[in-house]
Chain length 326, copies 2
């Protein structure tokens, strides 16, 4: 079978691709286990270097997710699964509303229509976000049954795509599943336009001996999860029985609800023998406002029931990052 | 000021238009009360007869809501308000998914973008529906804070437009408000493609001495509201202070939760001296399934707080219909 990952050359896209090749197979549209003979990473730009893990099964293609013909050309087999990760991120979406709608809404529709056009019933895993929650009426703990009143365009488009995944699935157009991601830590490389980018920087920069600037207060709270569990969650959600999901195909991934201070403390506990760069608080009202709109606590009963993975601890997430990237 | 009603030649659109002309003024984008000098009813077809209530302020225009240029041509003044009622209905949306997306989603986006393009901050009242609720996880009583897991494409597109109205408002593109309608009774004229069409037929056909065929069981439950309160609710929601709505602009209109049997009983109490046509139960699994997916009970705390109207009783709704149409 073929697997398409949109946003496939990003951090999570690549980790997912590598994990899928190692795994070697997935449940195919016919319900049987099929080996993956083609893995297509689609993204807006191709990386200058082909990833070391990418063997001959891997194709990397650059293009525009908002162009329906480009998207339908990706999804060109009936024995296919799609992980739809491509997205404008939260901070980027606040700065460019039109781009957020074009990439996240039109792009999503293009992926969903291309899957609908196949004669099988492809499994589609959509990367949603806990940014679907927010606003004055938000519950103190947001779980799978909380109302979605997002306070960013990013969150709004994610909520819209959750609704579309549910409806396309209900209509029998494909077999969709939405994974609602908390803040992912620890992203390697450079900061990105996500409002939560500093959360990875808080670990990454000090571990690289660099200064990290935190744009929010140290008591800022957020649910986080390590990238290994995010990737494991995508795959487990793909493999879950459709009946176990029922008519609401969206599942909040497990998470740890922590403060910025908790994360700094965990870093110091894990990396006490290293020469850490400095952490400096430099408030940015734009970022603080976005983060304050996010859930203060999250529950994840459905994910637990489905057996989706959760890291052992915050410290374990930092240890994994050191093992994988340092 | 100008007022545009999309879906303006439909039953509710016309009643709203007439009520607005009688009222004569609305709160304009500048915050002051302004008299209505132009009322544009936009719909997919123009009625063969100009409505008797339509004075020289009224223009009726036929067109396609999914055509952005036609929609932006409607919204051609800064001192404007828009009531966006145009929609594929529930049963119709289940039978033609693509049409539902084109009219309800693309059409909605066209209206929202046209309002955004004005230099004022037009008030936009969007007709949503309690069909946004549904599914296995639905709360026994759905209120303003219930999660939206619609089980029709109609409901899904209404939920999506609620999210868009919230986000366009949050961004300062217009001043949006969504009114979540229960089943509207009593619609005059002919049955339509709404799955709930029989609910009006249940009163209308017997009062006309005709046989009414009910496609669901007599214990089928649904929240209903009379058309006078629907129209009054639209106007009251338009006039509400934005601050009273906060960051969630959608409000469930008041309703009565009744069974088919309750409605038949109310008809007999009100019309005991009339020669009523027969009521026959002819189950239709397609309609029954849609109705079973709808809320069994609804609450409406926000509407009450905002002072939105609710008919005195089920009997009063029937009496109003007899007064207005018979």
């Amino acid at each position: 079978m073929k697997v398409v990952i949109t946003g496939g050359t990003g951090f999570i896209g690549q980790r997912l691709g590598e994990a899928l090749l190692q795994r070697g197979s997935l449940t195919a549209p016919d319900g049987g286990e099929a080996s993956i003979d083609e893995l297509l990473l689609f993204d807006m730009v191709a990386p200058s270097l082909r990833p070391a893990w990418a063997d001959e099964r891997v194709e990397i293609r650059a293009g525009d997710i908002s162009d329906a013909s480009q998207v339908s050309a990706l999804i060109d087999r009936d024995d296919i699964s799609v992980f739809h990760l491509a997205s404008v991120v939260s901070g980027g979406g606040e700065k460019d509303f039109d781009l957020a709608l074009r990439v996240n809404l039109t792009g999503g529709l293009n992926v969903f229509e291309a899957c609908r056009a196949r004669s099988g019933l492809p499994r589609v895993v959509f990367a949603s976000s806990i940014a679907v929650f927010g606003g004055a009426g938000m519950a103190p703990v947001v779980g799978d049954h909380a109302k979605q009143t997002p306070q960013t365009t990013y969150g709004a488009t994610k909520a819209i795509c959750e609704l579309l995944v549910n409806d396309y699935t209900r209509k029998g157009f494909f077999d969709g599943r939405s994974a609602r991601l908390p803040t992912v830590i620890v992203r390697p490389g450079k900061p990105n336009a996500a409002a939560s980018s500093f959360v990875s920087g808080l670990f990454r920069e000090p571990l690289n001996g660099e200064t990290c600037r935190i744009p929010v207060s140290e008591d800022t709270v957020m649910p986080v999860l390590g990238y290994r569990s995010i990737v494991g969650g995508f795959i487990a959600l793909h493999e879950a029985e459709g009946a176990a999901l029922g008519d609401d195909r969206a599942v909040s991934l497990p998470s740890f609800t922590v403060t910025v201070r908790d994360m700094i403390d965990a870093l110091h506990r894990v990396a006490k023998d290293r020469n850490l760069g400095e952490i400096v608080f430099e408030p940015d009202p734009f970022i603080q406002a976005i983060c304050e709109g996010w859930p203060k606590d999250a529950s994840y009963e459905r994910a637990t029931r489905l057996g989706l993975p959760r890291d052992a601890s915050l410290e374990a997430i930092v240890e994994n990052y050191i093992e994988d990237y340092l």
